[in-house]
Symmetry: D2
Subunit: 411 residues, 4 copies
């Protein structure tokens, strides 16, 4: 048994299979994967890692298992899944995940291979656990998969409160202890017990407020877009493979970007926080559906055209189109008057939060500081944006203020 001091949950007691998993290179690597990727360029204290988060998720899983009276091999399997749930992350966590998925077909929770072929497999075998079932839990499969990856999972409980602690933004400060205590299974579904409509709402609200303030802060989005573009260029190099990049840590990726000719300028910009600025920042209803659903190749063409027309390097124009909002509908469930009800049917907040998401959606076009004006105009035209609504950098009066919207009070 090992006891580890954590700045969020205080003492975390690590036992059984989890204690052995802790010492595998796959878990130790998470010490060098930033939990929030480039968000640290916005909130300088946000240097926390996937490693401490994994410990936190393991801790909350253990507490939940206690309250749910789940014991034995099933519990060990869930604790193992909690500890391992993020080992599939690429450097900078979600920042380059989509890009790597296009090359490898794998997301961060596709960990079967990682669990089967590494030191992790040996540890699981020592403890008599089936690697496939552990991987299944991480992918959210089965009744108990909901605890590790679902609407009420301990993953989200840990990251909200941990991100709040490390950024200093209080919105994520949920009552995680209450959440863990109130989890219960009804007919195979993980739900919150009677009297927890507000508890469930608070979880959704916390995420809804953290989203624009932290996770999709415009500076985080710009730096992430630049990192993604740089990594794309890195993958153009003959000797670097997406599978290798996926298993790098942050140190590897940053160093690789520094050493590669095609990406050195991006590395310099990252290192000195010399970021692109917004040329366009357009609301959902001002962006044609065809643009919102364009595939990466189409967007690369747009970028190339705009760059060319503005006499810029192709790397100097980035079009950043977020996924459609509200795609992931909330399926949280609560017990009300003895019935399992969807939170959505019980709380007007849930629908409102979904609408908010659409209101916060923004298409961004980013470029070097002295070209925002001409790139803004060229991009708006090429993308067929409604010029009046879309904010194009030097066209709209009062733009400086407006562009700071969602700024979270931070750089």
């Amino acid at each position: 048994m090992t006891t580890i001091k954590d700045s969020v949950h205080d003492h975390i007691q690590v036992e059984g299979v989890a204690a052995d998993l802790l010492d595998t290179p796959q878990v130790q690597r998470l010490r060098r994967i930033a939990q929030l990727g480039t968000v640290k360029l916005v909130y300088p204290s946000a240097n926390h890692t996937r490693f401490e988060h994994s410990l936190g998720v393991y801790h909350l899983a253990s507490r939940a298992l206690e309250h749910l009276s789940i014991e034995g091999v099933q519990a060990e399997r869930i604790r193992a899944a909690a500890m391992l749930h993020d080992i599939g992350h690429a450097p900078f966590s979600h920042n380059v995940e989509e890009l790597l998925h296009r090359h490898t077909g794998l997301y961060h929770d596709d960990v079967e291979e990682l669990i089967a072929d590494t030191a992790v497999a040996d540890v699981l075998a020592d403890h008599g656990l089936d690697p496939d079932r552990v991987a299944g839990l991480i992918a959210g499969e089965g009744k108990y998969g909901q605890l590790v990856s679902g609407e009420l999972d301990v993953d989200r409980m840990d990251y909200l409160v941990r991100d709040a602690h490390h950024t200093g933004v209080p919105y994520g400060t949920i009552d995680h202890e209450r959440l863990v205590r109130e989890l219960t299974f009804v007919g195979g579904e993980l739900v919150l017990d009677e009297g927890n409509v507000q508890t469930a709402e608070s979880l959704l609200v916390a995420r809804a407020l953290m989203n624009p303030t932290v996770y999709t802060h415009h500076v985080a989005r710009i730096s992430k877009a630049m990192l993604r573009r740089a990594t794309e260029r890195l993958l153009d190099a003959p000797d670097i493979d997406a599978d290798v990049v996926r298993r790098m840590d942050d140190y590897d990726l940053v160093t690789a970007l520094r050493m590669n000719d095609g990406t050195a300028e991006f590395a310099r910009r990252y290192d000195s926080r010399d970021l692109y600025k917004r040329a366009v920042w357009a609301e959902y209803h001002d962006v044609p559906e065809s643009v919102r659903s364009a595939d990466p190749a189409e967007l690369r063409d747009v970028e190339a055209d705009v760059a060319e027309s503005c006499e810029l390097d192709a790397n100097e124009v980035i079009v950043d189109v977020p996924a459609e909002p509200g795609m992931t509908e909330s399926t949280s469930e609560v017990l009300v008057n003895g019935e399992v009800r969807r939170l959505e049917d019980q709380s007007p907040l849930v629908t409102a939060l979904r609408t908010s998401q659409r209101e916060q959606w923004r298409l961004g076009v980013y470029t070097v500081a002295d070209a925002t004006g001409r790139v803004g105009r060229a991009a708006a035209e090429r993308l067929g944006l409604d010029i009046d609504g879309a904010l194009v950098a030097d066209v709209t009066p009062g733009v400086t203020a407006t562009l700071d919207e969602f700024d979270g009070g931070a750089r």
Copy 2:
């Protein structure tokens, strides 16, 4: 200048008129007025007082004035109003406020008399401040009244974060420092500066989540209803006047209830937290409009009838009808793209929160523990409740669980 250590804002520097006001009996009395009245029977750490809250409001007002560059006599007047804004509170804060209003015509922010006739007047005079204008600010009058009493006032910012600190319920943990920094005046209106839609939402959400969990927790409502009934009985005594009760502190009121024959049993119940239980807990749409808008005299008749039919003392049945929900509409304003917009028009959350309020509304009927069944049935019939929907204590199966709804995880 005095520096005071506060558990919420750390060091509070009290200067000028505020330092002198601090030493008046009217302000010192607030040390013995519980900020949340009987909520301490739900959350045992919630023993904070109107005194420390007043210091906090003064502190935030000073910070806001700094950011707004308001100086001189106007600033002194606002700081005086901040320090004095709660001196009109009766014992147990809002708990018996409506009752006393029926007798005295005064709410807690009707403080003209208190400011004019006491040591407070002398202090204001010493500093050349007009008592009426200070009282006006406390009542929310004029441009600067918004800072002390309005949708974006520093009063709410302090109480949310202070109540969270002392109850342990994290929902009130707003980013008050950001709120204070982002206040600005546009055309005489106090609004939040560009980029603060989430900041404004977070304030509303915090209150919306604290409401059912803390402020209107059913145990807080029951104990408050009992205290109100007891105080009503106290006022029946020949020698006790509502004006006197209004100026009591918590110590006086509790002791008076103990010593008065008609209220001693209430005092015993309060002292040993031996509270009535819910006999009825009915949702908004199950309660006839005529009941929802009944005046106190009508409700007293209902109580008497039900008590009689159940062979109980008249004090042993309490019908508790909250005000209509959503009456106080949100008028928070934010600056968006250079325009002042009502938060309501900008944020789908605001409407949703109003709807939530109606969903959380409950009529309660409370009585002694062994009579909940018969009182529930009698009251439901007398009030014309939709029996199926309304929860009547021993009728509905699974009632224990249901009755714990909104329980905030606490007794």
Copy 3:
């Protein structure tokens, strides 16, 4: 089982005998006993009560029992003792304890009678627990008494961290979770396990820093001395008995002081925080041994003489002589290299802290604000103080600053 939300330990789960004890009037009364007495006049947020502290002590005791693998009836007895350990407190906790002891022969931990003759006895009987053994644990008797009342008891762990939370003074913020985890029994002695020299030191240091800053802050001492004097006068009244005062709560005592002619002025001063000031503030080596060991009657004579010579009312001069420092020697023990060692022999800090205590010792003479000068001189002479060293109010130049020593940054 009841779950209670606490602002210090978050959710506290109360079970078994403790849940039933919670509902007794003896425990509920603690809601109205201020944990730190008049310290709230220095730190306005310090309104916490013996009730929430008792819950905290119960909680830490439960955690310690878990780590020590103590179960069954022994554990229930300890949990009962933890919940009940403070029911013997008089109003304002320690403030009038000595005074009442002179009249009743009882300290706050003399609870045999209280446990035997009240509702508490019935609850203990229901759970098959022997009242005498529970009272013994509270008095610190036997092996397990050390957990409830000893050098490493959970009482101290809770109060340090709780007082820090509520005053805002961080010095008490110990690592209580580590302390509880590292407790172990060696040969019947409760000690800290290997590797905890610093853990033990931190507990002593926390108390050593909280002492002058919070517990014996000069304003706390003055207001406590005034309360003690007022209560002494109250006991002079024909119809008021020390046994009755001992079982009052804060509300009772304050109201009694207000209603009694001989104490009304003290009550007014307490209510409006209109406190006496220091006339003398003398260091240990400047005070004759005979004064340091004088009994209360002798001091009353001094007070009367000084008051008379200064033409003041006898109530207007208070001589405040703290107990000899360092009487309670530290007997904390730690395991080092497999041996149980006294912390004192292991840590040079312990001896230093004892010396510090003597350096911080001060005799105080307090009086009305406009008489400090003449009372200072008269008292210094009457007590035979070394005038040069002793600070007498208007004699010493720069006295304002000096008198603020140990002021904790607060009023």
Copy 4:
């Protein structure tokens, strides 16, 4: 003006020269220098960086300047020094500082060159500040140098509270706001104002408790010693220069260690936290003076001899001799009764803390896990240790427990 959100001080307002310095590569590089080096291998949340610490020091310096009423160019110079005070740090902060000093003659506060020859110089010139005077402040020179680098500097105030926040160890939680408020200059000396003996003690005590628990935790020492040895080997490579290593960031150094044949095994061990174990852990009085004062070359000979005799690689034995304890005597000063006194003369704690330091001093010999026994014996003999006292790994019974001494509750 920029406002930055910090998890320790909340909103930090960066203005004037500091805002421009923030954007220099020299300051941005600090984002990639771990504040506590390898301590993160003990406390997994301790991923904070020199960048956020520099912001914090700048913030506290600004607050102190306000309280001290220092304005104009002097204030700008101090704020610049606060922001820049750590730009001279090598990767992993202090971990390889001594080693690099042997090669370059520079410590982290030797920043003249860095300030003179880089973008920093341009910014200082733009603001009319003399680089040499800023460098002087960083080195602690002159009256105002005490604020930036001295016994009562804001550097220490920030790091204690920040390290506590990020490790989760509460001992560093000082009352930094009070400290900053109570600073004052008397005759050119920076001292704490009247009434702050405890405030000064608390700063020393915080450091004294953080030292063994965090900064010199044995796992931090082992990993630091391994990193130092690895960096030594790296400097043996023909193409790597100490000046270059000094200007690397953590990413560079870790990657360089991975890519260099002679250090790859160290890198692997660091990456997977596969650390050496203690073979010897000897107290001060058991180590001959000649060993305690041995120079690095002599210790390398010892290591080589022991390794050879145990048939290990020379890299597999590390002898770790800390500096003599108590060398840096405390010169904190406080105002008592209008006189400036050395805290040392006023507080018995100070001397005790110095003695403690010697008691905590340990010589360590580290090696691969399966060789601790034979290396322990060989090293003890070669170093002439008093075998009975010194803990040699497999010789002393009960050694596992003992070796965990000073373990801080963490891995």
